[in-house]
Amino acid sequence: MATLKDVQTKIGAVKKTKQITKAMNMVAASKLRGAQANMDGFRPYAAKFNEVLGSLAEKAGEDASPLLRPREEVKKVHVVLCTSDRGLCGGFNASLILRAQLFLKEKLDQGIEVSFTNFGKKGRDWCRKTNAPIINQHLGIVGGVFGFNVASTSGRNLIDGFLDETYDEVYIINSEFVSMAKQFPVLKKIIPVPPIEHEETETPDETKPFLAEHLCEPSPDELLGDLLPRNIYVQLYSALLETSTSEHAARMTAMDNATKACDDMVENLTLAYNKARQAAITAELMDIVGGAEALKG
């Protein structure tokens, strides 16, 4: 049986923890708003970009850019792993890393070398632990404020690596933000650029003939060659935005749960405290009554 003092200390401790988790929840909520605003700002750009790219891809030849050409023999692949820098966000990083782990194993079993570019500390730490080669690491980006130049700088490195045959394929693992309660890891091949399918247009087909008749300057092939690297930056940027947003959402949910758990604990402990207090009082009363009876004798 815990003494009164013990239970009291414990209650105090849990309450303090609750304060922290609640604060973290609120911080995550406000950061989430920022991240979502960034995503909203980016959406028109991405939508327009894909539209243009789709219509160009129809016109341009397949040999327009080396980025389109798959390598016949794939010996070395590169993975861009996006995780968060900090923990306390539930299973967020664990699920991303698990995805990477499965992928790594699959490729290693096929005798393919895998190297990594890490966004986020958690993924990097995992790579270090498994002794996977890390080519590049960027900390302090996911979950923070970052611009498009982050994606273009790192995207350029990826493209250079592909072109000089440091690796034959590039994949990206990031978290996709579906809703506040749902984020899951996705794996995508970004280089070579998979055949671009024209999106199933929701808009009526009237606009299509227009697109097909575009004058292009320079030629469609050259334009496509210019746009494809940007396409990779766009994908990278959107992956980073999604991961950031997911991180905050995951942390918010995790901290919300933690706060609730704290509430439950305080409740249970208070009950235990009251019981202990009651027991002490009863024991004291018994003593007094016993003493009085003895005196009466």
Binding site: E217, P218, L223
Partner: protein, 137 residues
Amino acid sequence: MAGKIRLEVVTPEGGIVNVDTDIVMAPGSLGEFGVLQGHTPFLTTLKIGTIRYKGDGGSEECVFVSGGFAEALPDKVTVLAESAERTCDIDVGRAREALERAKKRLAGQGEPDTDFIRAKAAMDRAMYRLNLLETGR
């Protein structure tokens, strides 16, 4: 007089400009071009430069773009740029710093790590921004 044409300038960070105007001038990579209403559908890459259009009061407005591409449709011009700023939003301090940095990098171009092309591009961007601010066009 031709009717209005809509100009939209979009960057990954959000939309910068969304206006109806009479004419849009943009720096295509093969030469500057102007778009009026009823333009043939047209797609081009852009180089570093300024997009100019006529504002409400007939005054000329400038938007800096650091390359990208533009799509012209009969009633609309969409510019997708990696970064773009209105003249009034240009950060002088930052542009100056970028210029200094680029100069330093170019000065040390003997070193193997220097990415000459990128440093040159950075310098171009910074100089263009400052130039635009000083001359207003």
